[in-house]
């Protein structure tokens, strides 16, 4: 997808967005470390002991210390295959996020992220044409179990 210097017109924007759909990059992985879980739990002021203490987590039926779901953003920012590039517009705005939560992420897991562009569209905003791109990320553990799905909507204008 090459950069285009001239200002793109609506049909070209629609065609470009359409061409973005599908898988983005190769799956990427990272290990989940205890200190990362602790740091995230503290940042979001989550003081549930399952995020800090192995015995407390096991007493609640988990395999080990549980990552609070916002830790998905640590994986998001470390596995960067899904960086968006646009040949139109000036700014990309982070619009909204949807999450599905499945198998809990546990300290010691290795999480693999698979990224795709699930949907694109064009909307007419107050300031002109706006491209809408929905990125879908699946997070699976080392056993292949689906832990979470994150759908991030970005607005380009």
């Amino acid at each position: 997808m090459s950069e285009v210097k001239a200002e793109m017109q609506l049909p070209e924007i629609e065609a470009y967005l359409q061409s973005m759909r599908g898988p983005v990059g190769a799956p990427d992985s990272m290990p989940i470390e205890q200190v990362s879980v602790r740091r995230m739990a503290l940042a979001v002021e989550n003081f549930d002991p399952i995020h800090y203490d192995d015995a407390a987590a096991r007493a609640r039926g988990y395999r080990g210390i549980v990552a609070p779901w916002p830790l998905l953003w640590l994986v998001f920012f470390n596995c960067r295959e899904g960086t968006l590039k646009f040949p139109f517009g000036k700014a990309t705005i982070h619009g909204e996020d949807g999450y599905e939560f499945h198998e809990p992420i546990i300290v010691g897991d290795t999480i693999t992220v698979t990224t795709s562009i699930a949907d694109t569209s064009v909307k007419q905003g107050k300031s002109g044409v706006m491209g809408v791109v929905v990125m879908r990320r699946e997070f699976r553990n080392q056993h292949g179990q689906l832990c979470a799905v994150m759908s991030t909507t970005n607005l380009r204008r």
């Binding site: 003081f47 640590l74 999450y99």
Partner: protein
Amino acid sequence: MFKVDVKEPAQKFFEDFAEGQEMPVVTKGPMQVGHQVRWAGACDNYASEFHHDSKAAKEVGLPGVLLSGPFMASYMLTELTHWLGRNARVLSFWDRNAGTTMPHDIAHIHASIKRAWVEDGAGFVEIDCRIVNQDGKVTTPGTARARLPLRVEGSRA
């Protein structure tokens, strides 16, 4: 490593919630750049200068430092998860970045049960939630869905 003062969420059951029931409002803030810095550290994400540098923020047309939308949403997810109790499983969550949160702002987190039903031997709830700032503006509308255990006769929290 300092010991975190943990607090286990209460044990609750589906029957503890009714449609229309509201979560006691949780207030965060005044927000500080330090909150954002902790979030950035927990995410390994320092790429967006406007999230921690006022001058950089103004240079891209923003009124000043903005706190991350996913960070504020994570506060909301954390609080509603605790409200539902330690046996609840949050299945999905959605939020939209409808307004900005800046240093010194206050964030009032609201949540209520929109729908409650029983299916296949478990209780389910749909939740409407939102963050409202000190001016009454909704900065972060959201929704969630969770599964709760049914109360077993003789079982008590």
